[in-house]
Symmetry: C2
Subunit: 506 residues, 2 copies
């Protein structure tokens, strides 16, 4: 199959939204723009989506007139200031998102890293006709009271088949924030039970907690890191520190933050410095665990700090963290909400750490469609109804998790992620060397980021890439993060890379 970018359109002028929609100019092919064209280099690759578009196609400014019209209608009811454009998912396919104006974008952001196996995946569409799915849709159970006959099969096929080694329990929830907050609750309950020697609650504890007072509502804490993101509800937001605008004006618990090591790139030129900052971070964690004003029940960490700028650390660092937790009887919670489900090249990112024993709790959501956390039976509270709510997860979404697991296995998607990820990282480093503006290329699998010199240049690059038919996202102050689906192939990487090189050169 010959891959062409002849349909790739761009817009020369911002602001003329309605006019340019009718009078756009066809753009030069990427090959003439940058001298080298990768597109067409991977013609022997079998496509996961035979009916996917061959290339992006941008006909209007984004958002175009149709998007704007819908946004203005929606804005009557909901805040649309964060909306980039309106999607037309009826026309989207595989790695391509189509917007309300018919613009076709190669999607390397994928609904904030939450689309696993492509738009309109047959694996999801076929679910709708299955009796088990229809029953789950039409009869939403209170899973803590009346799980269905089907639920245990779903738990096995969706969650247990890919459970991190040594983690045979799963708590199901509705979203990443809920998953993390229930993990935090688990840690508090476990730690408190240990502190009182597994004895019964005292009357004073039971009475004081009803007034939100100690000892029943104890002063305990979760240690997290600078730049961390764990969610936006009251407990998870306390553990979050990626952006002030997310936190300001919201009451928070007095929980500690340790400095996350910010490594320098290229890694091979900064070995000593990077070892030093990781060592310092571990020492700070240990000091905080020993000396914080309230007992620390758990340390929570992302395998890659995602919202906070795609900050990676070494496997040694994470093994060191776990060791500190074990030595001080503090739970080690790994937040895999964004890193989980394959994009780093292993199903769970923490698999790459080679831990001597499993983490205590591993949380998930986003690309898995269902949310929750893995754990061990020893972390079940001694009493029922303490980690509990009406729905306790969503079987409709869990059936999608099961479909994702099957697709990952059937299509060998981890192998695809590793192959495409290696290629992307290598080529990005080339572009970085050649053009200078791209700094600090870093990644695991296709979970890749690089920095621009300033936040303004980063934002401008996102805008230019979108005009050229490629949807990417930012994170941290000046990083671009790539969050393709697991179905992102070499041919897609070529389109992304050629477009990036063209835009950077311009």
């Amino acid at each position: 199959m010959l891959h062409s970018v002849r349909n790739l359109k761009t817009l020369s002028r911002q602001g003329h939204l309605f006019r340019t929609a009718l009078a756009y100019q066809p753009v030069r092919t990427l090959a003439t723009a940058v001298g080298k064209a990768r597109v067409g280099a991977h013609t022997n690759e079998k496509s996961f989506f035979p009916d996917e578009p061959e290339s992006p196609s941008v006909k209007t400014a984004i958002p175009g007139p149709a998007s704007k019209e819908i946004m203005s209608r929606l804005d009557q009811y909901q805040d649309t200031r964060s909306v980039f454009y309106i999607a037309d998912f009826h026309k989207s396919k595989g790695n391509y998102i189509v917007d309300a104006d018919g613009n076709v974008l190669l999607d390397v952001f994928a609904q904030i890293a939450s689309i696993p196996i492509g738009y309109n995946s047959p694996a999801f569409l076929s679910l709708a006709s299955s009796p088990v799915f229809q029953s789950a849709l039409a009869n939403r159970p209170a899973l803590g009271v009346n799980p269905t006959k089907d639920w245990v099969d779903t738990v096995e096929s969706a969650f247990m088949s890919v459970a991190p080694k040594g983690m045979p329990n799963v708590f199901t929830a509705m979203c990443g924030s809920c998953a993390n907050e229930n993990a935090f609750k688990t840690a508090f309950i476990y730690k408190a039970a240990k502190s009182r020697g597994e004895k019964d609650f005292s009357l004073e504890e039971l009475q004081s907690c009803m007034k939100n007072q100690a000892p029943g509502s104890p002063d305990m804490s979760i240690l997290s890191f600078t730049q961390a993101f764990h969610g936006r509800l009251f407990g998870s937001l306390t553990a979050t520190a990626s952006k002030a605008i997310h936190k300001v004006d919201i009451p928070a618990f007095d929980w500690p933050k340790a400095t996350f090591p910010l490594r320098k790139y290229p890694l091979e030129d900064n070995v000593e410095y990077n070892q030093k900052v990781e060592k310092e971070s571990l020492a700070e964690v240990e000091k905080l665990v020993k000396s914080w004003k309230s007992p620390v029940a758990a340390v929570v960490v992302e395998p890659v700090q995602s919202e906070g700028g795609d900050n990676h650390a070494s496997p040694e660092y994470f093994r060191g963290l776990q060791k500190i937790c074990q030595e001080h009887d503090v739970l080690f919670i790994v937040d895999e909400v964004q890193t989980g489900v394959g994009a780093t090249g292993t199903f769970w990112a923490h698999e790459a750490w080679n831990l001597p024993s499993p983490p205590d709790l591993v949380t998930f959501s986003k690309k898995f469609q269902a949310a929750g956390f893995y754990s061990h039976e020893k972390f079940r509270p001694a009493q029922p109804y303490r980690l509990y709510n009406t729905w306790m997860g969503d079987p409709v979404r869990a059936l999608q998790s099961a479909a994702i697991v099957r697709e990952v296995q059937d299509k060998n998607l981890l192998e695809n992620v590793n192959r495409v990820g290696d290629y992307l990282q290598k080529e990005l480093k080339d572009i970085s060397r050649k053009h200078g503006k791209l700094e600090n290329v870093r990644g695991q699998g296709t979970f890749i980021a690089f920095d621009l010199p300033t936040p303004q240049e980063r934002d401008a690059l996102i805008g230019e890439m979108r005009k050229n038919g490629v949807n990417i996202g930012g994170c941290g102050d000046r990083a671009i993060r790539l969050r393709p689906m697991l179905t992102f192939q070499m041919k897609h990487a070529d389109i992304f890379l050629d477009t990036l090189e063209k835009v950077v050169a311009a």
Copy 2:
């Protein structure tokens, strides 16, 4: 149609689960058991579900052997101590839930008040074949970034068509706890902006919040009530006070609780006492709002305290609450997670209060399948991304909300709720008078409760009712709560009432 309870089975002996499954005894009809039979009194009623079972049918102990086997398999992965039995939703229909052992129960608890229009409602099943639904299933949007073309239609048909008067905005979320916590965040952001005179954040605020310290992470509070239930995450659990076991060991904010008025029944004999406790409660609220150690940003209240024991208050009381909020510039949040969507006889329970102006925020979840809160545009934060997360709700569930709204209108379900509710309340009062053990019958629509003398007798009644084919739930210390679906008809009420009278008489 002749309604018979001849198939109604019970079990005389607990504990012989596997044996009794094979050797149960047919029970006497209700008529012979209690002298009066309501069943058969409403034969002219047109059934919402022509293919629904005619009556309960209990063949085994509950949980029976099939349930127990599945529970033990599930218990490898998830805590099943709160599970009553395993549901077979493929066989359940309308108001009847069928369990894994083939027991058919009339369901008057409905997955903790969260099933709106019956099991396997054609209105839900037909969704699965609609292109809009299939697209929503196969392409889960980050609604804050890329809402779909379909989303605005869904928002209108699901949420805006039943929006409380004067509340033209809706924030969509994933569950009741998230809905409440985002409502609390809205209140804090609004109150903080007012306090600083709508000025920009100071550098100190932006820096201190990253460390969870004041002034950026301010000491502000939400006032809630004794016995309240608003959820189980860190902010919502702080506002909750229904049971100590839900709260103990979990860190909480130092937020105030006012005493909720606990009225005496029958209302007509306790007018003065009830006015007195409501007046005292309002005075306490006002005192706390004026004097609590941190500024109160909002008062949150349930129209009926549901988990806390089905505690009702008068419309005057709620109007008084709103007045205090308005006088002290505190937001008035109505938590309709359990009361919303018709069961009290109006679509939103607070409609019965006849408020002079709308509440500030109204939260919903459960029976609506989708969660979120209604509000006014003035409560949108001045900056974007402050009330935000990856999914911002779930279009799959919102499409169900739209189907529910259509069913409520097409089938005139509010009228049904009011007719059946009146009948249930009248008959329950009769049973209460006749048999003595049932106390304090109270309700709005079919949202009905009564007390037993002790928690033990309450729990025993739930067990006996289940053995006799009727599924009901408890709340508070000694209350039974009825939470039928909106499709619960007179014939179902008759089965429930006859069974109750038989069990109470025995």
